[in-house]
Protein backbone atom coordinates (compact mmCIF):
# COMPACT_ATOMS: atom_id res chain seq x y z
CA UNK A 1 0.00 0.00 0.00
CA UNK A 2 1.47 3.38 -1.00
CA UNK A 3 0.42 5.94 1.54
CA UNK A 4 -0.31 9.48 0.50
CA UNK A 5 2.41 12.10 0.67
CA UNK A 6 0.56 14.04 3.35
CA UNK A 7 0.40 10.95 5.49
CA UNK A 8 4.18 10.56 5.17
CA UNK A 9 4.79 14.22 6.02
CA UNK A 10 2.56 13.88 9.07
CA UNK A 11 4.85 11.20 10.49
CA UNK A 12 7.73 13.69 10.96
CA UNK A 13 9.15 14.73 14.31
CA UNK A 14 9.64 18.50 14.06
CA UNK A 15 8.72 20.98 16.79
CA UNK A 16 5.44 21.62 14.98
CA UNK A 17 4.70 17.89 14.71
CA UNK A 18 5.08 17.59 18.47
CA UNK A 19 2.53 20.30 19.26
CA UNK A 20 -0.89 19.20 20.47
CA UNK A 21 -3.51 18.90 17.72
CA UNK A 22 -6.02 21.05 19.64
CA UNK A 23 -3.54 23.92 19.78
CA UNK A 24 -2.76 23.61 16.08
CA UNK A 25 -6.45 23.66 15.21
CA UNK A 26 -6.95 26.83 17.27
CA UNK A 27 -3.99 28.57 15.64
CA UNK A 28 -5.27 27.56 12.20
CA UNK A 29 -8.72 28.95 12.98
CA UNK A 30 -7.11 32.19 14.24
CA UNK A 31 -5.04 32.43 11.05
CA UNK A 32 -8.02 31.82 8.75
CA UNK A 33 -10.19 34.23 10.72
CA UNK A 34 -7.54 36.96 10.61
CA UNK A 35 -6.94 36.39 6.90
CA UNK A 36 -10.61 36.55 6.00
CA UNK A 37 -11.44 39.44 8.35
CA UNK A 38 -8.69 41.68 7.00
CA UNK A 39 -10.47 44.34 4.96
CA UNK A 40 -7.78 45.24 2.44
CA UNK A 41 -4.89 42.98 1.59
CA UNK A 42 -2.13 45.49 0.72
CA UNK A 43 1.29 44.03 -0.21
CA UNK A 44 2.90 44.35 3.25
CA UNK A 45 -0.10 42.66 4.81
CA UNK A 46 0.05 39.77 2.31
CA UNK A 47 3.76 39.48 3.02
CA UNK A 48 3.01 39.27 6.74
CA UNK A 49 0.50 36.42 6.33
CA UNK A 50 2.79 34.68 3.84
CA UNK A 51 5.71 35.00 6.27
CA UNK A 52 3.62 33.38 9.02
CA UNK A 53 2.76 30.48 6.73
CA UNK A 54 6.39 30.18 5.60
CA UNK A 55 7.52 30.17 9.22
CA UNK A 56 5.13 27.32 9.96
CA UNK A 57 6.38 25.35 6.94
CA UNK A 58 9.95 25.84 8.16
CA UNK A 59 9.06 24.93 11.75
CA UNK A 60 7.35 21.76 10.49
CA UNK A 61 10.35 20.92 8.25
CA UNK A 62 8.00 20.43 5.32
CA UNK A 63 9.24 20.78 1.72
CA UNK A 64 8.44 24.35 0.59
CA UNK A 65 7.99 23.43 -3.07
CA UNK A 66 5.76 20.46 -2.20
CA UNK A 67 3.47 22.50 0.04
CA UNK A 68 3.24 25.43 -2.38
CA UNK A 69 2.51 23.14 -5.31
CA UNK A 70 -0.16 21.18 -3.45
CA UNK A 71 -1.81 24.36 -2.23
CA UNK A 72 -2.43 25.10 -5.90
CA UNK A 73 -5.24 22.53 -5.75
CA UNK A 74 -7.57 25.38 -4.80
CA UNK A 75 -6.63 27.32 -7.95
CA UNK A 76 -9.42 25.97 -10.21
CA UNK A 77 -12.13 26.79 -7.64
CA UNK A 78 -10.71 30.14 -6.53
CA UNK A 79 -9.81 30.91 -10.15
CA UNK A 80 -13.43 30.80 -11.30
CA UNK A 81 -14.53 33.21 -8.56
CA UNK A 82 -11.51 35.42 -9.25
CA UNK A 83 -12.36 35.50 -12.95
CA UNK A 84 -15.98 36.54 -12.40
CA UNK A 85 -14.99 39.16 -9.84
CA UNK A 86 -12.38 40.49 -12.28
CA UNK A 87 -14.90 40.59 -15.09
CA UNK A 88 -17.24 42.45 -12.74
CA UNK A 89 -14.67 45.24 -12.67
CA UNK A 90 -13.28 44.58 -9.19
CA UNK A 91 -9.65 43.74 -9.91
CA UNK A 92 -8.47 44.36 -6.35
CA UNK A 93 -11.09 42.12 -4.78
CA UNK A 94 -10.42 39.42 -7.37
CA UNK A 95 -6.75 39.34 -6.45
CA UNK A 96 -7.63 39.29 -2.74
CA UNK A 97 -9.87 36.23 -3.26
CA UNK A 98 -7.02 34.41 -4.98
CA UNK A 99 -4.46 35.35 -2.32
CA UNK A 100 -6.77 34.46 0.58
CA UNK A 101 -7.69 31.09 -0.94
CA UNK A 102 -4.09 30.20 -1.66
CA UNK A 103 -2.76 31.21 1.78
CA UNK A 104 -5.65 29.39 3.47
CA UNK A 105 -4.81 26.25 1.52
CA UNK A 106 -1.16 26.54 2.55
CA UNK A 107 -2.15 26.89 6.22
CA UNK A 108 -4.46 23.87 6.08
CA UNK A 109 -1.72 21.84 4.38
CA UNK A 110 0.74 22.76 7.12
CA UNK A 111 -1.72 21.49 9.73
CA UNK A 112 -2.50 18.27 7.86
CA UNK A 113 1.17 17.76 6.97
CA UNK A 114 2.32 17.99 10.57
CA UNK A 115 -0.47 16.06 12.30
CA UNK A 116 -1.56 12.48 11.56
CA UNK A 117 -5.25 12.40 10.72
CA UNK A 118 -6.21 10.26 13.73
CA UNK A 119 -4.62 12.87 16.01
CA UNK A 120 -6.33 15.68 14.11
CA UNK A 121 -9.67 14.00 14.62
CA UNK A 122 -9.01 13.40 18.32
CA UNK A 123 -8.18 17.10 18.55
CA UNK A 124 -11.49 17.99 16.94
CA UNK A 125 -13.37 15.77 19.40
CA UNK A 126 -11.61 17.43 22.33
CA UNK A 127 -12.59 20.83 20.96
CA UNK A 128 -16.24 19.85 21.06
CA UNK A 129 -16.96 18.93 17.42
CA UNK A 130 -19.89 16.43 17.44
CA UNK A 131 -18.51 12.94 18.08
CA UNK A 132 -20.70 11.38 15.40
CA UNK A 133 -19.21 13.58 12.65
CA UNK A 134 -15.68 12.80 13.77
CA UNK A 135 -16.47 9.08 13.91
CA UNK A 136 -17.77 9.07 10.36
CA UNK A 137 -14.58 10.73 9.08
CA UNK A 138 -12.47 8.42 11.24
CA UNK A 139 -14.03 5.21 9.92
CA UNK A 140 -14.03 6.55 6.37
CA UNK A 141 -10.34 7.34 6.57
CA UNK A 142 -9.43 4.02 8.25
CA UNK A 143 -11.24 1.88 5.72
CA UNK A 144 -10.27 3.99 2.75
CA UNK A 145 -6.86 2.37 3.08
CA UNK A 146 -8.34 -1.12 3.31
CA UNK A 147 -10.61 -0.53 0.31
CA UNK A 148 -7.87 1.10 -1.70
CA UNK A 149 -5.70 -1.94 -0.99
CA UNK A 150 -8.56 -4.19 -2.08
CA UNK A 151 -8.99 -2.19 -5.28
CA UNK A 152 -5.27 -2.55 -5.98
CA UNK A 153 -5.49 -6.31 -5.44
CA UNK A 154 -8.44 -6.50 -7.86
CA UNK A 155 -6.47 -4.46 -10.38
CA UNK A 156 -3.50 -6.81 -10.04
CA UNK A 157 -5.75 -9.84 -10.35
CA UNK A 158 -7.28 -8.40 -13.52
CA UNK A 159 -3.84 -7.51 -14.92
CA UNK A 160 -2.59 -11.03 -14.21
CA UNK A 161 -5.39 -12.29 -16.47
CA UNK A 162 -4.51 -10.03 -19.35
CA UNK A 163 -6.39 -6.79 -18.56
CA UNK A 164 -4.52 -3.64 -19.57
CA UNK A 165 -5.56 -0.31 -18.12
CA UNK A 166 -4.39 1.68 -21.16
CA UNK A 167 -6.40 -0.46 -23.57
CA UNK A 168 -9.77 0.00 -21.92
CA UNK A 169 -12.43 1.07 -24.42
CA UNK A 170 -15.57 2.94 -23.42
CA UNK A 171 -17.82 0.46 -25.24
CA UNK A 172 -20.84 -1.36 -23.67
CA UNK A 173 -18.75 -4.42 -22.80
CA UNK A 174 -16.11 -2.23 -21.18
CA UNK A 175 -18.73 -0.37 -19.16
CA UNK A 176 -20.32 -3.67 -18.07
CA UNK A 177 -16.95 -4.95 -16.87
CA UNK A 178 -16.21 -1.69 -15.02
CA UNK A 179 -19.65 -1.77 -13.42
CA UNK A 180 -19.01 -5.36 -12.32
CA UNK A 181 -15.73 -4.37 -10.70
CA UNK A 182 -17.38 -1.41 -8.94
CA UNK A 183 -20.18 -3.68 -7.71
CA UNK A 184 -17.67 -6.23 -6.40
CA UNK A 185 -15.82 -3.47 -4.56
CA UNK A 186 -19.08 -2.16 -3.14
CA UNK A 187 -20.08 -5.62 -1.93
CA UNK A 188 -16.71 -6.22 -0.33
CA UNK A 189 -16.92 -2.88 1.46
CA UNK A 190 -20.37 -3.86 2.71
CA UNK A 191 -18.96 -7.18 3.95
CA UNK A 192 -16.07 -5.32 5.56
CA UNK A 193 -18.47 -2.96 7.35
CA UNK A 194 -20.44 -5.93 8.71
CA UNK A 195 -17.25 -7.65 9.84
CA UNK A 196 -16.08 -4.51 11.64
CA UNK A 197 -19.41 -4.18 13.39
CA UNK A 198 -19.19 -7.82 14.46
CA UNK A 199 -15.66 -7.25 15.80
CA UNK A 200 -16.90 -4.22 17.75
CA UNK A 201 -19.74 -6.26 19.26
CA UNK A 202 -17.35 -9.05 20.18
CA UNK A 203 -15.36 -6.57 22.25
CA UNK A 204 -18.34 -5.35 24.20
CA UNK A 205 -19.58 -2.43 22.05
CA UNK A 206 -23.13 -1.54 23.07
CA UNK A 207 -23.80 1.45 20.84
CA UNK A 208 -21.87 4.14 22.67
CA UNK A 209 -18.27 4.78 21.76
CA UNK A 210 -16.02 5.92 24.60
CA UNK A 211 -12.46 7.02 23.89
CA UNK A 212 -9.35 7.69 25.92
CA UNK A 213 -8.99 11.16 27.42
CA UNK A 214 -6.57 13.44 25.51
CA UNK A 215 -3.27 14.22 27.24
CA UNK A 216 -2.88 17.54 29.06
CA UNK A 217 -1.40 20.48 27.13
CA UNK A 218 2.31 21.12 27.74
CA UNK A 219 3.88 24.50 28.48
CA UNK A 220 5.35 24.48 24.95
CA UNK A 221 1.84 23.93 23.54
CA UNK A 222 0.51 26.90 25.48
CA UNK A 223 3.41 29.10 24.30
CA UNK A 224 2.78 28.02 20.75
CA UNK A 225 -0.91 28.82 21.09
CA UNK A 226 -0.20 32.26 22.55
CA UNK A 227 2.43 33.05 19.90
CA UNK A 228 0.30 31.78 17.01
CA UNK A 229 -2.93 33.49 17.99
CA UNK A 230 -1.00 36.62 19.02
CA UNK A 231 0.76 36.85 15.65
CA UNK A 232 -2.51 36.40 13.75
CA UNK A 233 -4.28 38.99 15.89
CA UNK A 234 -1.35 41.38 15.50
CA UNK A 235 -1.38 41.04 11.74
CA UNK A 236 -5.12 41.57 11.59
CA UNK A 237 -4.86 44.65 13.82
CA UNK A 238 -1.97 46.12 11.81
CA UNK A 239 -3.74 45.46 8.52
CA UNK A 240 -6.93 47.13 9.68
CA UNK A 241 -5.10 50.09 11.24
CA UNK A 242 -2.84 50.84 8.28
CA UNK A 243 -4.85 49.38 5.44
Amino acid sequence: MHHATLDQWARGSSALHRRDARVKWLVLVAYLAALSATRSLFPMCVLGFAALAAGAIRLGRLPFAGVLARAGVVAPFAGVITLFTWLGGEGGRALAVLVRSYLSAVAVLVLVGTTPLPTLLSGLTSLGVPRFLVLVVQFLYRYLFVLSEQAQHMRLAAASRGWQAGRWRPDPAGFRAAAGVAAALFLSSQAKAQAVHRAMLARGFQGRLVTLAPPALSIADLWFLAAGVGACAGLWLAANLFG
Binding site: R11, S122, R203, V210, T211
Partner: protein
Amino acid sequence: MQALIQVRNLRFRYEDGTLALDGVDFDLYPGETVALLGPNGSGKTTFVLHLNGLLSGEGQVIVCGLEVTKRNLAEVRRKVGLLFQDPDEQLFMPTVLQDVAFGPLSQGCTPEQAQARARAALAQVGLVDAAGKAPYHLSAGEKRRAALAGVLAGQPEILVLDEPTTYLDPWGQTDLITLLGSLPQAKIIVTHDVLFAAAVADRAAFFQKGRIIAQGSVADIQRRFGWAPPAARPANRPD
Protein backbone atom coordinates in the same frame (compact mmCIF):
# COMPACT_ATOMS: atom_id res chain seq x y z
CA MET B 1 -14.44 -30.31 36.99
CA GLN B 2 -16.98 -27.72 35.84
CA ALA B 3 -16.69 -26.96 32.12
CA LEU B 4 -16.10 -23.30 31.14
CA ILE B 5 -18.05 -23.81 27.96
CA GLN B 6 -20.81 -26.35 27.46
CA VAL B 7 -22.49 -26.63 24.10
CA ARG B 8 -25.39 -29.00 23.58
CA ASN B 9 -27.08 -29.94 20.33
CA LEU B 10 -26.27 -26.62 18.66
CA ARG B 11 -27.88 -26.18 15.26
CA PHE B 12 -27.65 -23.16 13.00
CA ARG B 13 -28.92 -22.41 9.53
CA TYR B 14 -27.88 -19.34 7.52
CA GLU B 15 -30.53 -17.16 5.86
CA ASP B 16 -29.83 -18.75 2.48
CA GLY B 17 -30.82 -22.12 3.94
CA THR B 18 -27.33 -23.58 4.38
CA LEU B 19 -27.21 -25.80 7.45
CA ALA B 20 -23.92 -24.74 9.04
CA LEU B 21 -24.18 -26.52 12.40
CA ASP B 22 -26.05 -29.75 12.77
CA GLY B 23 -26.15 -30.75 16.43
CA VAL B 24 -22.78 -29.83 17.92
CA ASP B 25 -21.85 -30.97 21.44
CA PHE B 26 -18.67 -29.57 22.96
CA ASP B 27 -17.02 -28.89 26.33
CA LEU B 28 -14.05 -26.73 27.21
CA TYR B 29 -12.38 -27.09 30.62
CA PRO B 30 -10.29 -24.55 32.55
CA GLY B 31 -6.69 -24.23 31.39
CA GLU B 32 -6.99 -26.43 28.31
CA THR B 33 -6.38 -25.52 24.68
CA VAL B 34 -8.52 -27.15 22.03
CA ALA B 35 -7.83 -26.97 18.30
CA LEU B 36 -10.82 -27.05 15.98
CA LEU B 37 -9.81 -28.77 12.77
CA GLY B 38 -11.77 -29.65 9.67
CA PRO B 39 -12.31 -28.78 6.02
CA ASN B 40 -13.36 -25.33 4.78
CA GLY B 41 -17.05 -24.72 5.28
CA SER B 42 -17.40 -27.43 7.92
CA GLY B 43 -18.81 -24.99 10.51
CA LYS B 44 -15.78 -24.15 12.69
CA THR B 45 -16.02 -20.35 12.43
CA THR B 46 -19.82 -20.42 12.63
CA PHE B 47 -19.46 -22.45 15.80
CA VAL B 48 -17.07 -20.05 17.54
CA LEU B 49 -19.26 -17.05 16.64
CA HIS B 50 -21.93 -18.65 18.84
CA LEU B 51 -19.63 -18.68 21.85
CA ASN B 52 -19.98 -14.97 22.49
CA GLY B 53 -23.40 -14.55 21.00
CA LEU B 54 -22.51 -13.06 17.62
CA LEU B 55 -24.67 -15.78 16.10
CA SER B 56 -27.56 -17.47 17.78
CA GLY B 57 -28.86 -20.91 16.84
CA GLU B 58 -31.00 -23.65 18.36
CA GLY B 59 -29.61 -25.62 21.26
CA GLN B 60 -27.75 -24.56 24.36
CA VAL B 61 -24.51 -22.63 24.84
CA ILE B 62 -23.36 -22.10 28.43
CA VAL B 63 -20.32 -19.93 29.14
CA CYS B 64 -18.93 -19.86 32.70
CA GLY B 65 -22.30 -20.94 34.01
CA LEU B 66 -24.25 -18.36 32.00
CA GLU B 67 -26.55 -19.45 29.22
CA VAL B 68 -25.84 -17.24 26.20
CA THR B 69 -28.98 -15.18 25.68
CA LYS B 70 -29.63 -11.61 24.57
CA ARG B 71 -29.98 -10.53 28.20
CA ASN B 72 -26.47 -11.45 29.29
CA LEU B 73 -24.53 -10.83 26.09
CA ALA B 74 -22.43 -8.07 27.67
CA GLU B 75 -21.28 -10.38 30.43
CA VAL B 76 -20.66 -13.29 28.07
CA ARG B 77 -18.58 -11.07 25.81
CA ARG B 78 -16.48 -10.03 28.78
CA LYS B 79 -15.70 -13.69 29.40
CA VAL B 80 -15.00 -14.78 25.82
CA GLY B 81 -12.36 -12.87 23.86
CA LEU B 82 -12.62 -13.49 20.13
CA LEU B 83 -9.71 -12.93 17.75
CA PHE B 84 -10.91 -12.73 14.14
CA GLN B 85 -9.11 -14.16 11.15
CA ASP B 86 -8.55 -10.80 9.46
CA PRO B 87 -6.91 -8.30 11.83
CA ASP B 88 -7.97 -5.40 9.59
CA GLU B 89 -11.55 -6.07 10.66
CA GLN B 90 -10.56 -5.85 14.28
CA LEU B 91 -8.37 -2.74 14.22
CA PHE B 92 -10.77 0.11 13.60
CA MET B 93 -9.65 2.88 15.93
CA PRO B 94 -7.23 5.66 14.90
CA THR B 95 -4.25 4.46 16.94
CA VAL B 96 -3.14 1.10 18.28
CA LEU B 97 -3.47 2.27 21.90
CA GLN B 98 -7.01 3.55 21.33
CA ASP B 99 -7.91 0.33 19.60
CA VAL B 100 -6.59 -1.87 22.38
CA ALA B 101 -8.38 0.32 24.92
CA PHE B 102 -11.68 -0.03 23.03
CA GLY B 103 -12.72 -3.26 24.81
CA PRO B 104 -12.05 -2.05 28.38
CA LEU B 105 -13.79 1.27 27.64
CA SER B 106 -16.81 -0.55 26.21
CA GLN B 107 -16.87 -2.69 29.36
CA GLY B 108 -17.19 0.43 31.48
CA CYS B 109 -13.59 1.01 32.63
CA THR B 110 -12.52 4.61 33.23
CA PRO B 111 -10.16 6.04 30.58
CA GLU B 112 -7.25 5.71 33.05
CA GLN B 113 -8.03 2.06 33.78
CA ALA B 114 -8.54 1.35 30.09
CA GLN B 115 -5.23 2.96 29.21
CA ALA B 116 -3.40 0.98 31.89
CA ARG B 117 -4.98 -2.27 30.68
CA ALA B 118 -4.20 -1.43 27.07
CA ARG B 119 -0.55 -0.68 27.82
CA ALA B 120 -0.24 -3.91 29.80
CA ALA B 121 -1.75 -5.90 26.93
CA LEU B 122 0.57 -4.22 24.43
CA ALA B 123 3.53 -5.12 26.65
CA GLN B 124 2.28 -8.71 26.77
CA VAL B 125 2.39 -8.99 22.97
CA GLY B 126 5.58 -6.93 22.62
CA LEU B 127 4.04 -3.93 20.89
CA VAL B 128 4.58 -1.10 23.38
CA ASP B 129 6.46 0.99 20.82
CA ALA B 130 3.53 0.84 18.39
CA ALA B 131 1.00 2.36 20.84
CA GLY B 132 0.80 5.69 19.03
CA LYS B 133 0.90 4.28 15.50
CA ALA B 134 -2.06 4.08 13.16
CA PRO B 135 -3.08 0.44 12.55
CA TYR B 136 -2.49 0.70 8.80
CA HIS B 137 1.18 1.44 9.45
CA LEU B 138 1.72 -1.95 11.08
CA SER B 139 3.06 -5.04 9.35
CA ALA B 140 0.77 -8.06 9.04
CA GLY B 141 2.38 -9.74 12.04
CA GLU B 142 2.14 -6.57 14.12
CA LYS B 143 -1.53 -6.19 13.18
CA ARG B 144 -2.15 -9.72 14.39
CA ARG B 145 -0.40 -8.97 17.71
CA ALA B 146 -2.25 -5.65 18.09
CA ALA B 147 -5.57 -7.42 17.52
CA LEU B 148 -4.60 -10.02 20.13
CA ALA B 149 -3.68 -7.23 22.56
CA GLY B 150 -7.16 -5.78 21.97
CA VAL B 151 -8.67 -9.09 23.03
CA LEU B 152 -6.35 -9.53 26.03
CA ALA B 153 -7.09 -6.01 27.30
CA GLY B 154 -10.67 -7.16 27.87
CA GLN B 155 -9.24 -9.71 30.36
CA PRO B 156 -11.39 -12.60 29.10
CA GLU B 157 -11.48 -15.99 30.82
CA ILE B 158 -11.59 -17.79 27.49
CA LEU B 159 -9.71 -16.98 24.29
CA VAL B 160 -11.12 -17.96 20.92
CA LEU B 161 -8.74 -17.52 18.02
CA ASP B 162 -9.89 -17.93 14.43
CA GLU B 163 -6.99 -18.88 12.14
CA PRO B 164 -4.41 -16.96 14.19
CA THR B 165 -1.48 -17.98 11.96
CA THR B 166 -2.92 -16.37 8.83
CA TYR B 167 -0.50 -13.70 7.51
CA LEU B 168 2.22 -14.78 9.96
CA ASP B 169 5.66 -15.85 8.79
CA PRO B 170 7.35 -18.82 10.53
CA TRP B 171 9.06 -16.56 13.09
CA GLY B 172 5.79 -14.82 13.80
CA GLN B 173 4.15 -18.23 14.27
CA THR B 174 6.88 -19.28 16.71
CA ASP B 175 6.39 -16.05 18.68
CA LEU B 176 2.64 -16.68 18.74
CA ILE B 177 3.13 -20.23 20.04
CA THR B 178 5.34 -18.88 22.84
CA LEU B 179 2.86 -16.11 23.64
CA LEU B 180 -0.15 -18.44 23.72
CA GLY B 181 1.77 -20.84 25.95
CA SER B 182 2.30 -18.02 28.44
CA LEU B 183 -1.39 -17.08 28.67
CA PRO B 184 -3.33 -18.75 31.46
CA GLN B 185 -6.76 -18.63 29.77
CA ALA B 186 -8.50 -21.66 28.28
CA LYS B 187 -8.30 -21.44 24.50
CA ILE B 188 -10.17 -22.58 21.42
CA ILE B 189 -8.16 -22.28 18.23
CA VAL B 190 -9.64 -22.67 14.78
CA THR B 191 -6.83 -23.60 12.43
CA HIS B 192 -5.84 -25.49 9.32
CA ASP B 193 -2.23 -25.58 10.46
CA VAL B 194 -1.74 -28.94 12.16
CA LEU B 195 1.87 -28.24 13.12
CA PHE B 196 0.68 -25.12 14.94
CA ALA B 197 -2.22 -27.07 16.47
CA ALA B 198 0.15 -29.80 17.66
CA ALA B 199 2.39 -27.16 19.26
CA VAL B 200 -0.35 -25.38 21.22
CA ALA B 201 -3.33 -27.69 21.71
CA ASP B 202 -3.98 -30.34 24.35
CA ARG B 203 -6.67 -31.92 22.19
CA ALA B 204 -8.50 -31.40 18.93
CA ALA B 205 -12.05 -31.63 17.65
CA PHE B 206 -12.67 -32.45 14.00
CA PHE B 207 -15.59 -30.75 12.22
CA GLN B 208 -17.28 -32.11 9.15
CA LYS B 209 -20.57 -30.98 7.60
CA GLY B 210 -21.59 -29.00 10.68
CA ARG B 211 -20.85 -31.71 13.25
CA ILE B 212 -17.94 -32.67 15.47
CA ILE B 213 -17.23 -36.15 14.24
CA ALA B 214 -14.18 -36.89 16.36
CA GLN B 215 -12.23 -35.60 19.33
CA GLY B 216 -8.81 -36.66 20.56
CA SER B 217 -5.19 -35.68 20.49
CA VAL B 218 -3.99 -33.67 17.49
CA ALA B 219 -1.78 -36.61 16.45
CA ASP B 220 -4.76 -38.97 16.65
CA ILE B 221 -6.95 -36.68 14.52
CA GLN B 222 -4.11 -36.25 12.03
CA ARG B 223 -3.75 -40.01 11.71
CA ARG B 224 -7.46 -40.79 11.46
CA PHE B 225 -8.33 -38.14 8.88
CA GLY B 226 -5.06 -37.77 6.99
CA TRP B 227 -5.11 -34.18 8.26
CA ALA B 228 -1.49 -33.28 7.61
CA PRO B 229 0.56 -30.81 5.55
CA PRO B 230 0.83 -31.93 1.88
CA ALA B 231 4.42 -33.20 2.24
CA ALA B 232 3.46 -35.46 5.15
CA ARG B 233 0.09 -36.60 3.80
CA PRO B 234 -0.36 -40.23 2.79
CA ALA B 235 -1.05 -40.78 -0.89
CA ASN B 236 -4.38 -42.48 -0.18
CA ARG B 237 -6.45 -40.21 1.98
CA PRO B 238 -8.83 -42.08 4.28
CA ASP B 239 -12.52 -41.24 3.87
